[in-house]
Every structure is written in structure tokens, then in C-alpha cells.
């Protein structure tokens, strides 16, 4: 028979009974209401078993209903380890249990629970790490067995993003303290962000009972929330988790698919307290839950937690739970009060007058399964005879629900991340917090206030202190709130060992009392070592329900106080977060020249050089080699056009411009004539070649220096850095993006350019190689530089960036009758290789100095100083260790090596190939390679280990491979 646990209105503040939602769990259709979580909808349908435990595959169900425990982890199609008590149901949602073999109800791996006594704490370390190396063999087995959910490897990332926000005051926690703090802070005029992880503001006021009639919580909640919503200074963010605290009140707040990066001048942490479980035999059975979980089920979701219940309590809150259970139609069989002398409040007094069996000074010694073995069937109640010890006489009470109310820990995680100190007060048996950093405050139950009026007063006080620090509040700070509650809500020892174990301290990792105690006996007595040895607190709930009990057990086992034992460190994140939240929206800055679309329209295949898009070659990818060869041929024999807008451009201007370049680059620049360009090689302090370009002198105080595409920003920053030391009278400006540039190259380059450029005499005599001029090209103001990277007659034309496309169009049109054609980076690489020019970063590495790359000619021996000069002097006294040489491969049958293939001498690596390609001009493969100096003689041979280990003989030749006397580029 299907059991319907749904309660009538007004229970269920979060559900909308007008909207039925169907989803599936374990392939069975389940019906719930909009607003239900997976766990509440399942519970309404009497499905309490949610998952299997990590190690022993024990049945697990609802424990907290607060998204704080691993018992409720389920598998969603693309999301493993989803918290069933956090995930809203939606039509068609497919939910499965996880970590079982067979079925959720009949898990074959549950047999592990029968042998748990033979799997002591750290049994991995003890059993599977010897002999040495054995763990490598065991690890795959355990990882396969121990995994929880399944990752969807076909998952398509959906849209996540980030947003910065700024507030005077951030209040974390939307319970009574948070609401009151937000209101008090806003009253001062401060802008306030109120962050709450729940759907509905109000925190415990939504479910907890503060008076016998059960009306006060709702009244107070509605009044506070109404004021918050009406206050224009408060932004209330629900379903938002503050997942960490970082310096200067930097708060990462996750809300749905966005990470808010909040900066708050003041932060008030009203994060409340986390109810703790009692520890006894089978305390993990489905049906055993926190008292607050039962209250949440009843009040928020209108779900009856069971038919008959026992309440295990160590405080008066358990009596309030009992009243709520009665209101929900649950038969309360007994209240088992751990206290031997309880001090009743009004609620407890009321309950005791109802005739419910109250067993003072008793404990639940064990929980027992029902016939299905998957749920609670009864509890074994015994009188406490000593701390943690019970009498042998027992009473069995049949029930399907056991609610535990034995104490709390403050939600200390954010506070400890902020630098707060967690201590333990032996009198109240509670953790306490102190030493919050400047501009960060705590308020409410996290401060140990439990009475509602105390909580609100404490929060208002914190808000006044915070806003006074903002200098916007002139209210007097009230004195610290005096506790109205006389008895601590924490029972000092709700822990009862059992001969058969299974008293779980840490549900995540299936750790029992003996595991913690044995960790200390194995010599790991420090709480941090206990954590790492036992893995206690390392599971998904990060010790929320185990830290207190563990500290107590370790203290007891090591004859220390809990205060002396301490707790482990709390680090962000507070709760599990998707990587997508950290990644956010993907930002991949891309740079395009003004001619970019002309390349695409011409069929270019683009490549990325840093952030820049550049045309690799023009044509279809399958015909890549033919395209490149055709482009090379057109440049060698006709005229080609390449976009060089990506080259760095740096203006160096001022009285000391020449002196600056003289110090910065290796060449001499002081005597460089106006109207001339000069090759500029850059080394760092270690004498390593790091960039190159040409320095064009347009007037006495003005140089325009080019840099490599990838090195422009680095060169510019390096210039600024050096001049910060030299303090020369010079201005340095990075104008890379201000200019679009093309290189028109080939024997017909002058002919084409002359059609568009009438105000510059382009003749060889008037405008020789390495000359620079200013004029107009196609009516566009232009800087024209006669350089020859590809070894042919060529001109670089630099124009204002926004005119790049117009320049390109004009040159293509002007060259139409010459069959001008664009060429890409790949052809340029081959052309420059034929000419023997190196590419910085390809033919050089982090050790290359000018001498070994045959660039010694570009280093002035006459200058008193340049960056790297001193190191090069020293290196010059040492023998060369390697040389970059040009080589050809004469054997037409030999495979063409690839870049980075090794140069070998027998079985010894002696160098590597840096550039290699088939030269259509020379009709054979050519390349550059580092070789030992004794192999660098022209005409000598060395061996390259090519693909598949094939050895190829290369012959050293003089550079350049092509047009050695430079006649073509100097036409």
C-alpha cells in the first residue's frame, strides 16, 4: 500500500499544491509539488532510502534536510553527489541513488558492513601499502569500488558567469539574527546585502518552535521579513551561499549559475548553528534524523516524518520537536532525555503535561532495523549509569522515527576562515568563537545566544558596531546581551559505545567510535593527524556533524580537555561548488587586424599567434602545401602582400631617444642617420636573445621601433622598466594597435606601390634598402620602411589602424594587373628560412646568445653599455657550446625532419632542429639546427633522428641559403 506522508495546509510553506511535478527516482515515477526538494518529495511518498554509504554501503536517508550531509547525495544525469535535500524537483528530472551494486534496496556491496570490524581505521595504509609499490596495484580496485556518483563525460558546460558587487555591510545568514542585523545596519543609512542560502528568508523561524502555541516564530519571521523587503537599503539574496571569507571582506557568493564577488566594508556573520547527531549503535539508519530535520519536513514541505516517533534529547528543543510531531499527527512514543536534571522551559513544561512518556537520564543505546532492514523499526532505551555508559536493562520502543536534539556547533567555517578562533567551553559543552578580524562581526546563535530575543538584540548590537565603523551611525552601542537561557542546549556526552560498533561519528566516511579512538592509539593524537589518519571530517560535509564528537572522543582518549584538543582547520569553500562557478564566463581576448575579414574573404586559414589571428595561408586545408608553395613562388617571382599589423610598434621620442636605444638594444643607434632603419636585437641581462625588430629614425628625437608579434608587450614593459632606472629624457609609447601594416614583397613590389605612392621617390637610389620615409599611400598617411625579411625587394607600409582595410584593398587593386596575391605566415616562414633569418622564440630558446645564433654582427663591440652586454663579454671568453647552423638534406629519398627533431651523435643527443622545410627555390629540404661547434664547419655532416627513428644525414651550409649577396632585396 502506498503511504502518503503529505500533511494538509497550513503545513508546507515552500510547496505549491496547485502545481504537481512528476520526476523519477530509481526509474520509478514520483509525484511531488513545486517547491519540493527531491528528498521531501520522496519522503512524502514514503521513500526514505536515498543512497548508500561511502565505505560499508549502509542504507542512508534524510538526516538534516538542510543540505549539510552526505547521506542525501543522489545522482542526477549530469551531476553526481547532488544533495537531495537541496535540489528542487522539476518535471522529468531523473534521479538515481548512488554508490550501490545491484539495486539501491539490494546492494551487493552491503556485505562490507558485515566485515567492518576487520577494516579498522587506516586499513588502507596498514594492509595495502606493503610491500613497497603494492598500493599502485590496489588503488584502481579501491577507487573503482569506493567512488560515489558518476561523472557525465559528455557533459556540455552551460552558461555561468560572475558579477562584482559592493556594499557597506554584508550580512551572511537570513535567520532572525541576519534579518535583525540587516535592518539595524540599514537604519543607519548603510547599503546592506543580506545573503541566505535558503529559499525563504527567516532561517530557523521557518521551522523551529519558540513557544508552546507554535505561533511566535511565524509572527516574528513575517514581521522581520516584511521590514527587510520594504527597506530600499537592503538587497536580500536568497538561495545564495557565501562560500568563503577572504581578506578585506571579499566574499564569493554563489547564487544559481552566478558567482558574485562581493566587497563589503563590514561583514556580519549571522550564520547560525548546526544541530548535531547523537552517537549510538545504528544511528545512521533511515528514520533516524535530527529534530530540526523533522521540523523542516513538517513545516516547510508538509511531510510527516513517520507514524510513530521517539525523541532523543539533551535540551528543551527536543520537547518543541515533540510538539511539532504531535501537531503533524505523529505518535510520540517517548521523549528520552539525556539530562539527569533537566531545567524545563515553558515548552518542555507544556509537553510534560501532555502525558507523553519522558525518560529522564536515559539514552537511546541502539537503533534497530525493521523487517525491510532498510529503516528504523525500534529503539533500545537504557538508563545512563555513567558518562557514555548505559545500564544493561533495556526497553525496546517500536517506532519508525527517531529525532535527535542533543546540541549544536556554531557554524564556524566562515569565521575561522576570517581568522576567528574556535574554543571549547567545558561548562556549556559548546564551541565558542572569538577574535574576529577587524570589520567582521558575528551575531546570534553562532555567538551562543539561543533565546529569540537575545538573538535579535545581539544582531542589532553587531550592526550598530559595524555601522559605527563606517562612520555613518551615531547610535550608542548597547552593552553585550545577557543570556536568558540558563541551561546549555548541548549535552556534554551524547556518545554511547556499543559492543557491535556501528555508532557513527562521521557519516560521510563511515567512521565509528573505535576508529577515532584507535587513531589516537596508533599514535596520532593531534586532532589534525587524527583527521588525516582516519579521514574524519574529510568527506563532503567537512566535519559539520563530526568535529564536535571527534574532539570530545580524542580529548577523552588522550586525557585532555576538548579545549586543549581543538578542532581542525576550516578552509573554503564552505560547501561544494561547481568548477563552472570558479571558471565563470570564458574570456579569451582575441586581436584582429583591420584587414582580418579581407583575409577570410580571400580564403585564408587563420592561426593564432598569442591573442592575434593571422592568416596562415590562403586556400583549402587539404591543399596546404600547394598553397604555401604557390605563395612563395609568387613572392619570389612576382609580388605578394602580407598583413604585418601584428608586429609590435613602439615610439621612442625625446632628447635621449638615441641614447635609450643604444642602451636597450645590442647595436649602435647614436649615429643612425635620420631616414634609415637599423636592425635591433634585444638581449636580456643574461645575454639571451629575447626579441628583434627594426628601429626607424624619423627625426633626431624620434625612433619608431618594431618588435615581434608575441614580444611587443614584453619589450614595451622592459623599456619602461629600464628607463625607470636610467631616467633618460625620453617618452616611450606602445602604438602596436595604432598602426595597420602590410609588407609588399617581390620583384614587382615597387611597380605596384608606385601606383599609389606619388609623394615618395621609390627609386633604389632615392629610397635604398633599410630606408624609411613618410608620405601617403592611396591617400592614407603612411610610414614606409624598406626592409627585406623575405629576401626580396619589399616595403613595409604602416598606416593608421582604421585605414588598414582600405590600404589592403588599394594595394590588391593596384597589383591586379601584376597578379598580386596575398601570402600568409607559413609562406613567410619559408621565405625567411631561405634567406637565413631566424625567428626569435622558434630558432632561439631561453639560453640562446647572439654568437651561437650567428648574430654576433648585430652586437656592437664599441658601446660602453647595453642590456646583456657584460654577460656577453664574459660568454665571449668561454668556448661555444653549440651553434645554430644552416643545413640542407641532399638525399632526395630521405624523409624531411620536423622541428624539434634531435641531432644525434650515435646514441647521444647533441642538438635539435629549430626550423625545417622543403625549399621550392633550392629544390631540397633546408633548415636550421643547433649542433656542437665541432659539427658547425661548412660542408660538414651531422645526423638528425627523424620520425620513426630514421636517421637523416644533413650537410652544413653557409647562410643564407638564397641570394647570398642580397641583390634581390636591394634592387
Amino acid at each position: 500500500m502506498t503511504v502518503d506522508n503529505r500533511l494538509p495546509s497550513p503545513f508546507g510553506t515552500l510547496i505549491d499544491r496547485s502545481q504537481t511535478v512528476e520526476f523519477s527516482f530509481e526509474k520509478k515515477t514520483i509525484s511531488g509539488y513545486a517547491g519540493d526538494t527531491v528528498a521531501s518529495a520522496l519522503a512524502a511518498n514514503n521513500q526514505w532510502l536515498l543512497s548508500r554509504s561511502f565505505k560499508y554501503h549502509r542504507p542512508r536517508g534524510v538526516l538534516t534536510m538542510a543540505g549539510q550531509d552526505a547521506n542525501s547525495m543522489v545522482q542526477l544525469p549530469s551531476d553526481p553527489n547532488a544533495l537531495a535535500d537541496r535540489i528542487d524537483i522539476s518535471p522529468g528530472l531523473k534521479v538515481m541513488g548512488q554508490n550501490y551494486s545491484g539495486s539501491l534496496t539490494r546492494d551487493r556491496n552491503a556485505v562490507l558492513g558485515l566485515v567492518s570490524r576487520f577494516l579498522p581505521v587506516a586499513f588502507y595504509y596498514k594492509a595495502f601499502f606493503k610491500p613497497r609499490g603494492m598500493w599502485q596495484k590496489w588503488a584502481p580496485f579501491f577507487r573503482h569500488r569506493a567512488g560515489l556518483g558518476r561523472i557525465d563525460q559528455n557533459y556540455q558546460a552551460d552558461y555561468h558567469d560572475k558579477q562584482y558587487q559592493f556594499y557597506d555591510v554584508a550580512v551572511v545568514g537570513g535567520g532572525p539574527a541576519g534579518l535583525a542585523a540587516a535592518l539595524a545596519a540599514a537604519d543607519s543609512g548603510a547599503s546592506v546585502l543580506l545573503v541566505d542560502e535558503n529559499v525563504r528568508l527567516g532561517g530557523s523561524l521557518n521551522y523551529a518552535r519558540n513557544d508552546a502555541e507554535g505561533t511566535q516564530s511565524g509572527r516574528v519571521r513575517d514581521a522581520l521579513v516584511a521590514r527587510v523587503k520594504a527597506n530600499p537599503k537592503i538587497v536580500a539574496m536568497s538561495e545564495a551561499t557565501c562560500n568563503g571569507w577572504f581578506s578585506d571582506n571579499w566574499l564569493p557568493i554563489i547564487c544559481r549559475k552566478r558567482l558574485y564577488k562581493v566587497r563589503a566594508k563590514q561583514t556580519i556573520l549571522c550564520v547560525g548553528a548546526i544541530e548535531q547527531p547523537a552517537i549510538f549503535h545504528n544511528n545512521d539508519l533511515p528514520g533516524v534524523m535530527l529534530g530540526s530535520a523533522a521540523q523542516r519536513l513538517i513545516k516547510l514541505y508538509a511531510v510527516r516524518p513517520g507514524q510513530s516517533a521517539v525523541v532523543l534529547t539533551g535540551n528543551n528543543d527536543g520537547y518543541a520537536v515533540a510538539l511539532d510531531l504531535i501537531d503533524a499527527g505523529v505518535e510520540v512514543k517517548a521523549i528520552v532525555d539525556l539530562r539527569d536534571a533537566p531545567v524545563y522551559d515553558a515548552i518542555a513544561e507544556h509537553v510534560s503535561s501532555l502525558g507523553i512518556s519522558v525518560k529522564v537520564g536515559h539514552a537511546v543505546y541502539a537503533a534497530k532495523r525493521n523487517a525491510s532492514r532498510l529503516h528504523l523499526g525500534s529503539v533500545d532505551v537504557r538508563k545512563i549509569v555513567d558518562r557514555g555508559h548505559c545500564a544493561t536493562e533495556s526497553e525496546t520502543i517500536n517506532c519508525d522515527t527517531l529525532c535527535m536534539s542533543v546540541g549544536y556547533t556554531p557554524t564556524y567555517q566562515l569565521i575561522c576562515q576570517a581568522g576567528g578562533r574556535l574554543s571549547y567551553d567545558d561548562d556549556s559543552a559548546m564551541f565558542t568563537l572569538s577574535d574576529c578580524p577587524e570589520n567582521c562581526y558575528t551575531a546570534g546563535s553562532v555567538n551562543g545566544y539561543w533565546h529569540l530575543e537575545d538573538v535579535i538584540s545581539d544582531a542589532e548590537r553587531a550592526a550598530i558596531i559595524a555601522t559605527q565603523a563606517l562612520d555613518v551611525d551615531r547610535r550608542e552601542v548597547p552593552s553585550a546581551v545577557v543570556h536568558q537561557q540558563t541551561q546549555s542546549p548541548n549535552h556534554p556526552w551524547p556518545i554511547f559505545a556499543h559492543p557491535k560498533g556501528c555508532e557513527f561519528v562521521d557519516f560521510d566516511e563511515d567512521l565509528q567510535i573505535a576508529d577515532i579512538v584507535n587513531a589516537t592509539r596508533d599514535g596520532y593524537q593531534h586532532i589534525q593527524l587524527v583527521k588525516r589518519y582516519s579521514t574524519c571530517g574529510m568527506g563532503p560535509s567537512q566535519g559539520r556533524h563530526s568535529a564536535l564528537a571527534t574532539a570530545r572522543l580524542v580529548a577523552d582518549a588522550t586525557q585532555r580537555t576538548v579545549a586543549q584538543t581543538g578542532v581542525t582547520t576550516a578552509r573554503p569553500p564552505f560547501s561544494a561548488e561547481h568548477l563552472a562557478h570558479s571558471a565563470g564566463r570564458s574570456f579569451y581576448p582575441a586581436r584582429r587586424s583591420n584587414m582580418h575579414y579581407r583575409h577570410l574573404e580571400s580564403g585564408a586559414q587563420m592561426l593564432q599567434a598569442g591573442a592575434w589571428y593571422r592568416p596562415a595561408y590562403y586556400g583549402q586545408a587539404p591543399a596546404r602545401e600547394d598553397c604555401i608553395q604557390r605563395e612563395v613562388d609568387n613572392v619570389r617571382n612576382n609580388v605578394g602582400l602580407i598583413d604585418v599589423s601584428t608586429l609590435g610598434g613602439i615610439e621612442v621620442r625625446g632628447v635621449d631617444a638615441g641614447e635609450f636605444l643604444n642602451r636597450f638594444y645590442t647595436f649602435g643607434f647614436l649615429k643612425q642617420p635620420v631616414g634609415r632603419a637599423r636592425y635591433a636585437l634585444l638581449t636580456n641581462e643574461a645575454g639571451v636573445v629575447i626579441d628583434d625588430g627594426v628601429a626607424c629614425r624619423f627625426d633626431e628625437q624620434h625612433y619608431y621601433v618594431t618588435a615581434t608579434t608575441g614580444g611587443a608587450d614584453r619589450v614595451y614593459q622592459s623599456m619602461l622598466k629600464w628607463n625607470a632606472q636610467w631616467r633618460l629624457d625620453v617618452d616611450i609609447a606602445n602604438v602596436t594597435s595604432a598602426y595597420a601594416g602590410v609588407n609588399i614583397a617581390g620583384p614587382n613590389a615597387r611597380k605596384v606601390l608606385a601606383k599609389l605612392c606619388t609623394d615618395i621617390d621609390l627609386s633604389a637610389a632615392a629610397f635604398p634598402y633599410m630606408g624609411v620615409r613618410e608620405g601617403t599611400v592611396a591617400g592614407i598617411a603612411a610610414r614606409v620602411i624598406r626592409v627585406g625579411f623575405v629576401g626580396e625587394l619589399g616595403y613595409e607600409v604602416h598606416v593608421p589602424q582604421h585605414a588598414g582595410e582600405a590600404l589592403w584593398d588599394a594595394l590588391i587593386n593596384a597589383g591586379e594587373d601584376c597578379a598580386i596575391a596575398p601570402f600568409g605566415v607559413e609562406a613567410q616562414r619559408l621565405l625567411r628560412l631561405e634567406k637565413g633569418h631566424i625567428i626569435i622564440g622558434q630558432d632561439t630558446d631561453a639560453m640562446s646568445n647572439p654568437t651561437e645564433v650567428q648574430m654576433g654582427w648585430a652586437v656592437s663591440k664599441l658601446k660602453p653599455f647595453f642590456v646583456g652586454g657584460r654577460t656577453l663579454q664574459e660568454l665571449g671568453r668561454l668556448p661555444l657550446k653549440r651553434c645554430l647552423v644552416g643545413f640542407v638534406i641532399d638525399d632526395p629519398m630521405a624523409p624531411i625532419p620536423l622541428e624539434s627533431h634531435l641531432v644525434v651523435d650515435g646514441d647521444k643527443m647533441t642538438g635539435r632542429v629549430t626550423s625545417v622545410n622543403y625549399s621550392p627555390t633550392l629544390g631540397k629540404p633546408i633548415g636550421l639546427a643547433y649542433v656542437p661547434p665541432n659539427c658547425a664547419e661548412t660542408g660538414g655532416n651531422f645526423t638528425i633522428k627523424s620520425s620513426g627513428g630514421v636517421l637523416v644525414v644533413a650537410t652544413v651550409v653557409d647562410l643564407p641559403f638564397y641570394d647570398a649577396d642580397n641583390r634581390r632585396q636591394e634592387l
Binding site: Q163, Y588, G654
Partner: protein
């Protein structure tokens, strides 16, 4: 008003003109520049809410160097008293002081700036260096009541109107690229002028439109901005 013309009728073209054309933009001439006049029939409402305009072809220029402030004042420029503030000149040109010795001069939305023309033609003493800001930097305008919300998704600086005053400048990172953000309201219209690396303008345009989608933002032409003056 000039009739609609093609963006390629001049050599000076925004790298975004194809995107504008795809959105049905009508281009007009503004002074020497060609820019988007409008995309849709009525963009004034859109601009009040959230609009993005490309002003990259309009006039602007920079000067830097130790001699710049004195020279500019001699030329009649009213300089902001401290860096990272801008001041409006009588002819509508905005002069943004990026450092004690660096100025960025921005014409108004008509495409004319007598001050820029005058300074560009003026003799410059030593230690005054012009900067080609019209080409090194693109110029986008993000306007409307949701502009600050949009910027909060791509920039870590608090640019909300109540904290970032009209005329204030932030030189910062925007969607992972360097940017100069100048609050330059147009009448009652909240407006942020964004200057960033011109080669990255397509990336930035797309990033901002993506961030704007949440607030139903869309591109607007200069007409929508000018109507708010």
C-alpha cells in the same frame, strides 16, 4: 542631415562595421567620420535602458610628456585638476587627464572638435608627444540605467553611478583587457565611454553584448545618444 552612406566610403573604417551592417545599421557621416546613425526606428528608449554604441571612428587624440599640461593650458585647455578626471571644454570636447602629464581629448558626438583640430595643428614644444588614440584605442559608449550592472559583470571596479561620478576615470581591466573607462553622462543619460585596444574591439563588443543580454541591452546608434543631449 547627411543621407545614409556605406561605411566603406572612407578609408577610416571601424573594425565593427560588418557587425553593424548585419544588424541593419544605417550609417551617416559625422564630420569626417562615418558611424552608425541608428539600427532601429526608435532607440532612445533602448539607450535609456541599456545601449552600446561604437564611436571608434570619431575624433580623439592624446598628448603626453612633461611639457603637456603647460602647453595644453597655453592652448586654452581647461585641465582637470587631478589625474583620472575629465573636464568638458567650451566646444564640447572632453579632456581626460590620465596622469599628471598625459591627456586624452575626446570630441563630442557630432564628429567635430575644434579643440582637437587646433591642438593637432599647433606647434608643440619639447616634451609634448602626440599619441594616436584615435587608432590605438577603440571607443565604445555603454549607456543607460543598466550600464553599471553590465560593467559589474566584466570589471572589478565599483562603477555604480553613486560611487563613480560623472567625469571620473578608471584605468583598469575590462573582460581581461586593458581599458580606460570614463563616466561621461549625456544629459540625464548615464554613459560610460570605454577606450580599449582597437585590435580587440570585436572581442570587447561581443563580451559586452553578452553581459548586456540579461538586461535586454542592444546596440544603439549615435542618434540615440545625441537625442539625450
Amino acid at each position: 542631415m547627411d543621407p545614409s552612406i556605406s561605411p566603406t566610403q572612407t578609408s577610416r573604417r571601424s573594425s565593427l562595421y560588418r557587425r553593424h551592417s548585419q544588424l541593419g545599421a544605417e550609417f551617416h557621416r559625422f564630420g569626417e567620420a562615418i558611424a552608425v546613425h541608428h539600427y532601429a526606428s526608435d532607440e532612445a528608449t533602448q539607450a535609456q535602458s541599456l545601449g552600446l554604441a561604437d564611436l571608434s571612428t570619431l575624433p580623439r587624440v592624446g598628448f603626453k610628456g612633461a611639457g603637456t599640461p603647460a602647453w595644453a593650458e597655453q592652448c586654452g585647455v581647461h585641465l582637470p585638476h587631478q589625474p583620472n578626471w575629465a573636464s568638458e571644454q567650451p566646444d564640447g570636447t572632453l579632456v581626460a587627464r590620465l596622469s599628471s602629464s598625459e591627456l586624452l581629448m575626446i570630441g563630442d558626438y557630432s564628429g567635430h572638435s575644434p579643440l582637437i583640430d587646433r591642438l593637432a595643428a599647433a606647434d608643440r614644444p619639447e616634451r609634448v608627444y602626440p599619441l594616436p588614440r584615435a587608432d590605438s584605442h577603440s571607443w565604445l559608449a555603454l549607456c543607460g540605467s543598466h550600464a553599471a550592472d553590465t560593467l559589474a559583470k566584466v570589471c572589478a571596479v565599483d562603477l555604480r553611478p553613486q560611487h563613480f561620478e560623472n567625469g571620473q576615470i578608471a584605468q583598469t581591466s575590462l573582460a581581461k583587457i586593458n581599458a580606460i573607462i570614463l563616466r561621461s553622462d549625456i544629459g540625464n543619460l548615464t554613459n560610460y565611454a570605454i577606450f580599449s585596444d582597437s585590435s580587440s574591439v570585436e572581442y570587447l563588443w561581443d563580451s559586452l553584448l553578452d553581459a548586456m543580454a540579461e538586461h535586454r541591452g542592444s546596440p544603439v546608434g549615435l542618434e540615440a545618444l545625441a537625442n539625450n543631449r
